[in-house]
């Protein structure tokens, strides 16, 4: 049966991406041309990533990627573009997230409270709300 096509992340426009030249462009010019990056690297070396992926799947299975484009832009100390590399699906890994969780507090709603939780509030039949003033 028909597969569900979907696109996540950045929508690429080829000639815009190619227009970014190392040594010439800087952060502002890239931002005006490509928009804000999808992701920035963490901690001390903030690279800019433009990440977009196409997936398809049966409606109830997990979407598996069919194609992907990643553009990484590295900046030198004074903010001009140092390197632009394009990547695809090569380094994508198949990951199953763990089930373990860090515990959190908060009142757990008891079983019966959830069943009858809001039954007490009897809505006034069809009377509906006040007429808007």
């Amino acid at each position: 049966c028909a597969k569900v096509q979907a696109h996540h992340g950045y929508v690429f426009d080829a000639d815009l991406v190619n227009a970014v030249q190392p040594g010439v462009d800087d952060r502002d010019s890239v931002a005006t041309m490509l928009g804000q990056p999808t992701l920035t690297g963490e901690f001390n070396s903030p690279e800019w990533y433009y990440w977009g992926r196409n997936t398809n799947s049966l409606a109830f299975t997990r979407p598996d990627p069919t194609s992907q484009t990643v553009v990484r832009i590295r900046f030198d100390k004074n903010g001009t573009v140092a390197a632009v590399d394009k990547m695809g699906m090569e380094q994508v890994a198949q990951i199953n997230p763990t089930d373990e969780k860090t515990p959190t507090l908060g009142r757990k709603r008891g079983f019966f409270q959830q069943l009858f939780g809001n039954i007490g509030t009897v809505t006034p039949g069809g009377m509906g709300q006040q007429p808007p003033q």
Partner: protein, 242 residues
């Protein structure tokens, strides 16, 4: 048809302040908080200018709190603060407001508006009266509230991971690391980022994150998981220097 609980004040019976106050105090000691709260309100209403009125206002708020009627308790306490900002027991009133919100915090699956209000109330108490013992307890509870808010972000992040939306999950876990550094969720967030970066095909970022996790939480089970993940999912990158 739900019976309409008599929420109006008690019928307007004028009584002298002494008997009213002691009757209320007695009901409070015997644990009949609802009636105690109503009687304290009566003291305040019939003898607004007596010295007892100020005391009754606070005791009323406390009775409502004990009766788990948190909204009423917050209202009475806030009215006390507005009318007697300078009074020595104002910190206690702030504390009551903070506690009333704190008690209603719902679990992470649900709306966290109350948690935000608890954070604001406890924060104000800690800022205004830093030395009082209430502030000490408030600071402790503030950490738990921060942790709870971080827990909410993690819950949504895990939701997106389950469904394979790795980018959405990454943004949520990055938020936990940026905004909630002091909470107990940071190690797990770092491990989750290792997972999502690998799944997004960015092993270098995964390596950097795992390195930070190892540096700050070497013994944690999260680092073990991250380490093994790097080993079998991106061995080349894991081994390479830099």
């Amino acid at each position: 048809c739900a019976s309409t609980k008599a929420s109006k004040d008690l019928p307007y019976v004028a009584r002298d302040v002494g008997t009213l106050y002691s009757a209320a105090k007695d009901k409070l000691d015997r644990g009949q908080y609802e009636i105690a709260a109503k009687l304290f309100d009566e003291v305040e209403r019939q003898h607004p200018f007596s010295v007892w009125a100020r005391r009754a206002q606070l005791m009323g708020a406390f009775s409502y709190y004990m009766n788990r009627d948190y909204t009423q308790s917050i209202q009475s306490a806030q009215r006390f603060i507005a009318e007697h900002p300078g009074s020595p027991s104002a910190p206690y009133a702030y504390y009551l407001v903070g506690l009333s919100y704190y008690e209603q915090i719902a679990d992470v699956d649900r709306d966290q508006k109350i948690t935000e209000q608890a954070k604001a109330a406890l924060g104000e108490l800690a800022r205004r009266y830093p030395q009082t013992r209430y502030a000490a307890d408030a600071r402790l509870k503030l950490d738990l509230v921060e942790d709870h808010l971080a827990g909410k972000e993690m819950e949504v992040g895990r939701f997106y991971e389950q469904r394979g939306n790795w980018l959405a999950a990454t943004e949520r876990f990055q938020l936990v690391i940026d905004k909630y550094q002091t909470t107990t969720h940071v190690p797990e967030a770092l491990m989750r980022l290792t997972e999502t970066y690998l799944a997004m095909g960015l092993p270098e970022e995964a390596k950097k994150t795992a390195a930070v996790l190892g540096a700050n939480y070497p013994g944690s089970k999260w680092y073990e998981r991250a380490y093994t993940l790097m080993e079998d999912k991106a061995p080349a990158v894991a081994a390479a220097g830099a």
